[in-house]
């Protein structure tokens, strides 16, 4: 798309018009967008077209089009957009002043030539895996409108799956990029914890929050990820010291040491989820089952830290405006605020030893595989899920397989796959690498992409 814009084969304005028309035609049914930034998008598209025209005419290096020239994209509405109120999925934030500047990652996308078309629906304050938002309505899965899109970046997954935009940005604390990528059948990346700047986004859990892209193609995911990288010393949670692009490394699909996670990750996956993991493993030649250390403990610790930090962050509003909170999560926020401090401190101390065990595992493996969600998307409003004979609360269970991974900070590419037993609904495979080795996850994902076993499918909307 960007190459065509740079070459003058299509204009950024034309791509924008097509995106806007698709949003107009489909959003009443899928409910992905909460804000549209039409004027800004037109301004950005015109600037890209003018830049590309100058480049073609004069070849001045200063006018060289960015890698995402003219590509429409949208962001979860916890990203600051200058002049727009950062809702973070809430009613409470409606009374906040509009953002005075863009989030750092929005600035990075603009520098790369991308065109921002709006803000996207999400679970309130990112505390959920389903995007059943009572204030703005639920997101509807483009592959089956009766089903959830996953969350909390549900609008981000929905917009890509519905063909509204080819790239979106989301956040992932416990699975909030990987779960909607899985349930909507799109590519998703949760980078290493500390890889991308979080400045200018509404926080959820300071010590676990990640940001990342979702896309309709693996190349698009890599382009966006490379464009987003820019070490930020002003974000205390940004630990990256240099940019490490992946795009030029993906073609090297040589031998990788690839294992399949068993135990906890097998036990909490339904047969359909196990099927896609088996297909990915077969495609990649992975035969060895690997035990991930302390997965159940890690999920418990992540759960405790999430509840405690989330409850503390919103304590003032919970005191005075609890009735304005999302009914599906307000009691969890309050329970988190009341947790004994010993629970939180022990969970954080546990995390350090856990990290060391996980990193030691990657001395023997380049990439590990497991499902991203226990099952395909359930119907909106589902309260309980049967996972291999065990009843699990639906809204929490969607993160069973993602939480232990993000708690260790490992990068994950969510590769969309299509089981034969889910009536056409997708489930993603998590392609997991050691911290700072996104390149290895992308290489394995490229093998799945090229083999034709992972990728998006069109929707009938």
């Amino acid at each position: 798309m960007a190459v065509s814009v740079a070459a003058g084969e299509v204009s950024a304005r034309e791509l924008l018009s097509a995106s806007m028309a698709r949003i107009d035609a489909t959003d009443a049914r899928v409910n992905a967008f909460t804000d549209r930034t039409v004027t800004r998008a037109e301004r950005e598209a015109d600037a890209v077209d003018a830049q590309c025209a100058r480049w073609r005419q004069h070849g001045n290096p200063a006018d060289k089009p960015g890698p995402l020239a003219g590509v429409p994209y949208a962001v979860k509405n916890l990203f600051d957009i200058e002049g727009v109120v950062t809702l973070a999925g809430s009613k409470v934030n409606r009374s906040h002043a509009p953002a005075t500047a863009d989030a750092v990652l929005v600035t990075q996308m603009q520098r790369a030539g991308a065109v921002l078309v709006g803000g996207l629906n999400m679970d309130e304050y990112a505390y959920g895996f389903t995007t059943e938002n009572s204030h703005y309505g639920p997101c509807h899965n483009p592959h089956d409108l009766a089903c959830i899109s996953g969350g909390s970046s549900g609008g981000s997954g929905t917009a890509v799956a519905a063909g509204q935009v080819p790239i979106t940005l989301g956040s992932d604390t416990n699975g909030s990029i990987r779960v909607p990528a899985s349930l909507c059948g799109v590519w998703g990346l949760k980078p290493t914890f500390g890889r991308l700047s979080r400045r200018g986004t509404y926080p959820f859990v300071y010590s676990i929050d990640h940001l990342g892209p979702m896309a309709s193609s693996l190349d698009g995911l890599a382009l966006a990820y490379d464009a987003l990288q820019n070490p930020d010393p002003l974000d205390p949670g940004c630990h990256a010291l240099r940019v490490q692009p992946v795009l030029g490394t993906m073609a090297d699909v040589g031998s990788l040491r690839i294992g399949v996670l068993g135990g906890y990750f097998h036990d909490h996956a339904t047969p359909a989820a196990r099927d896609v993991v088996a297909l990915a493993a077969q495609t990649l030649g992975a035969q060895t089952e690997v035990a991930w250390p302390d997965a159940g403990l890690a999920r418990a610790a992540a759960f405790i830290i999430t509840a405690s930090e989330g409850g503390s962050l919103h304590l003032n509003d919970l005191r005075t405006r609890a009735a304005d909170f999302e009914p599906l999560s307000v009691d969890r926020f309050i329970a988190g605020a009341l947790q004994p401090v010993d629970w939180y401190l022990r969970a954080q101390r546990f995390r350090r030893g856990y990290r060391d065990k996980v990193n030691a595992l990657f001395e023997h493996w380049d990439v590990l595989l497991c499902a991203a969600t226990p099952c395909a998307a359930p119907v909106i409003g589902t309260e309980w899920l049967d996972i291999n004979g065990t009843q699990q609360p639906s809204r929490a269970a969607m993160g069973l397989l993602t939480q232990p991974i993000s708690f260790a900070g490992c990068p994950v590419v969510a590769a969309p796959m299509w089981p034969g037993s889910t009536n056409g609904m997708p489930i993603a495979v998590q392609v997991i690498a050691a911290p700072w080795r996104e390149d290895l996850a992308f290489r394995a994902a490229t093998m799945l992409d090229r083999a034709g076993v992972a990728g998006i499918k069109p929707v009938n909307l």
């Binding site: 010590s207 609890a322 309050i334 546990f350 350090r352």
Partner: protein, 76 residues
Amino acid sequence: MTPSNDLPIADYVKSTAAVLGLPLDAAQTARVAVYLQRTAAMAAVIQAVELPLDEELVEIFCPAAFPVMYDGRNEL
């Protein structure tokens, strides 16, 4: 688990909510207690893990980035 103010943890919810200035009615106290009871089960699992003394949280705080240039005393 059905919301109930008979849960032992419901008393804890009432008292800590009062300390934090969180106004909860009986129904909400019961619902919050259900969630906190679930988390308590998870916390019990973590409590059972023996943590070495050196598994500490000092990484949360750093007074300033370590200097990488000459600081007037040493070549760093």
